[in-house]
């Protein structure tokens, strides 16, 4: 069975890390992911651009509402995610509207991806 691990942390604290601290964390993570890759267990890994670059599409109304900033409600839960290749934020919103029309209710938080590793799980 595939499991998703969703990473939460305080963005301001993580952004306040020095370059050395950052490199140290990445090196330690790298040792673990390397092992997982050898075992063929690592699926896609993504590091997101900070939430300042986030846009949220509320699709519980028609037409859907575009809000600057990350998803901020607490009454809804994270149920899944898509990774989609888009030319621009406008393009991403267009795609999100299309998906939202197929599955209304709730919201999509749209976040550009900083780094992406496709992984090899199940290969």
């Amino acid at each position: 069975m595939l499991y998703a691990l969703l990473c939460y942390n305080d963005e301001a604290t993580v952004c306040a890390r020095s370059k050395d601290e950052e490199n140290a964390v990445m090196a330690k993570l790298g040792a673990v992911t390397e092992k997982l890759t050898k075992q063929g267990r690592l699926g896609p890994v993504a590091r997101l651009v900070p939430t300042t670059a986030a846009t949220t599409l509320r699709k519980d109304r028609d037409p859907p509402l575009v809000i600057d900033g990350p998803f901020a409600e607490t009454k809804e839960q994270l149920l899944g995610f898509f990774v989609i290749d888009c030319q621009s934020l406008e393009h991403a919103l267009e795609t999100a509207r299309e998906l939202g029309a197929a599955n209304p209710g709730g919201a999509y938080e749209i976040r550009p991806i900083l780094q992406f590793w496709p992984g090899n799980a199940g290969a």
Binding site: A12, T13, C15, A16, L89, Q115
Partner: protein, 436 residues
């Protein structure tokens, strides 16, 4: 690494991250910068003492505000009774009150607190150098020593500068009421300008100063991000943040190993910081959707075109020219026109660019880059004697040894050319059979 050391690292990071908002909230209670700072310092000391044992609080900022406020209140009370303060462990536990407090410090409050704190630091009564120093000391929490080093001045001079700024602030009348929409917009613009100043202090450093001054760029980016988190729908703040990131992404390639200036077109683009470029481009993209153009967005869009070009030849100069034209309308300045002339030279040749900058000779007669560009354009037109005059003037105005060295390279080339020309003409005068 020992557990104690790793504790200190995360606590330090958490305190750094919480500082601006916690200090801003404390300032609302005390209405006095020094008192707010002392209360925050005291709260940090308690955090270092209690967090390793009890674990981090759910909301570090709220914890620091509550403890800072209580400590200050207790201190006043104990001082009145002339009794010593109890040890940190004897203080009542903050955790039970934390939730209640966090409730009251809702997002709206935080936003106005922080904007006020930032605004106080860039109060119009303060000269720019004091604004920057105060913001770095108060908001960013850099030590006087760190700031002095970044400004390349002595510690006591910097201490004085900050003290003077603080006493001016104390005399100035800063409103503590929640600002109205117009005042908030004005404050936001002043704060954005101050953050840009902090960045430029770091960015305009010469090679010798770069290592010491680069933290200023990082700090400016941190402040811009902070502002953007508070005002997520302001396209100009997105533009500012993007602009800083796109410029900072090129930092490591701007000087060579000997400290000489490396021009944009000669920089090793593979060494540009891709993460910063990705984030900057994403922010521009987000800002554009608002269709409310502003100077930071336009400058960021120009930087984005450079960042997107994989080689200098791929640079979209026509688009850059249009963006500079837009910037000339939004924020007219001779420096903007001078920058536009670089794009015009690429598009229409040096003569067109020279015609464009000639009217700037008056306002920019003390500006290094004006004479640098003028000399380069004249050189390309073969007007070497005039080029030499312009380059000489540029060297006299250079802000750093690296800038002067860069211009001297042009002068050397001119000297070589004229020597070659002289040889050639001598050759012609001599034997007709001479082979060049």
């Amino acid at each position: 690494m020992s557990e104690g050391a790793s504790d200190l690292i995360w606590i330090d990071a958490a305190l750094t991250a919480a500082r601006p908002q916690a200090l801003a909230a404390l300032l609302r209670y005390f209405r006095d910068l020094d008192m707010a700072e002392e209360a925050f310092q005291e709260a940090c000391l308690r955090a270092i003492k209690t967090w390793p044992q009890k674990g981090p609080p759910r909301d570090p900022t709220a914890w620091l505000v509550l403890v800072g406020r209580n400590v200050a209140i207790d201190e006043t009370r104990y001082r009145a009774r002339q009794r010593p303060l109890p040890d940190g462990d004897a203080l009542p536990d903050a955790d039970d009150k934390e939730a209640e407090l966090a409730e009251r410090l809702d997002a709206q409050h935080y936003r106005d607190d922080l904007l006020r704190l930032l605004f106080i630091c860039c109060h119009p009564d303060l000269p720019a150098t004091q604004q920057i120093a105060l913001a770095l000391r108060i908001v960013s929490g850099l030590s006087v020593k760190q700031i002095a080093r970044a400004f390349l001045v002595g510690e006591s001079a910097m201490e004085q500068r900050i003290t003077r700024a603080k006493s001016r602030i104390a005399r100035a009348d800063v409103a503590f009421e929640t600002p109205g929409a117009v005042e908030r917009a004005e404050r936001l613009a002043a704060v954005a300008a101050m953050i840009y100043l902090v960045f430029n202090e770091g960015y305009s450093a010469s090679h010798d100063g770069v290592a010491m001054r680069l933290p200023l760029c990082d700090e400016a980016i941190r402040l811009a991000r902070l502002l953007l988190r508070l005002f997520p729908a302001e396209p100009e703040i997105m533009g500012l943040t993007a602009l800083l990131m796109l410029q900072h992404a090129r930092t490591s390639t701007r000087f060579d190993a000997d400290g000489a200036v490396v021009l944009l077109e000669d920089q090793d683009r593979s060494r540009w910081n891709r993460s910063m470029i990705t984030e900057g481009l994403a922010l521009i993209d987000k800002a554009v959707r608002h269709r409310r153009r502003g100077p930071y967005q336009v400058q960021a869009a120009i930087a984005a075109l450079h960042a997107r070009a994989k080689t200098p030849a791929e640079t979209d100069w026509a688009q850059i020219d249009l963006l500079y034209a837009a910037l000339e309308e939004l924020a007219p300045s001779p420096v903007v026109t001078l920058n536009r002339a670089v794009a015009v030279a690429k598009l229409h040749g040096p003569a067109a660019a020279l015609a464009m900058i000639e009217p700037l000779a008056g306002p920019l007669n003390g500006y290094f880059h004006f004479f640098g560009l003028k000399g380069a354009l004249l050189m390309r037109l073969g007007r070497n004697a005039e080029a030499r005059t312009a380059f000489d003037r540029a060297i006299a105005l250079a802000n750093s040894a690296a800038e002067a060295t860069h211009i001297r390279q042009h002068l050397d080339q001119l000297a070589k050319e004229s020597a070659a020309a002289a040889r050639e003409s001598r050759g012609k005068e001599g034997s007709a059979s001479g082979v060049g």
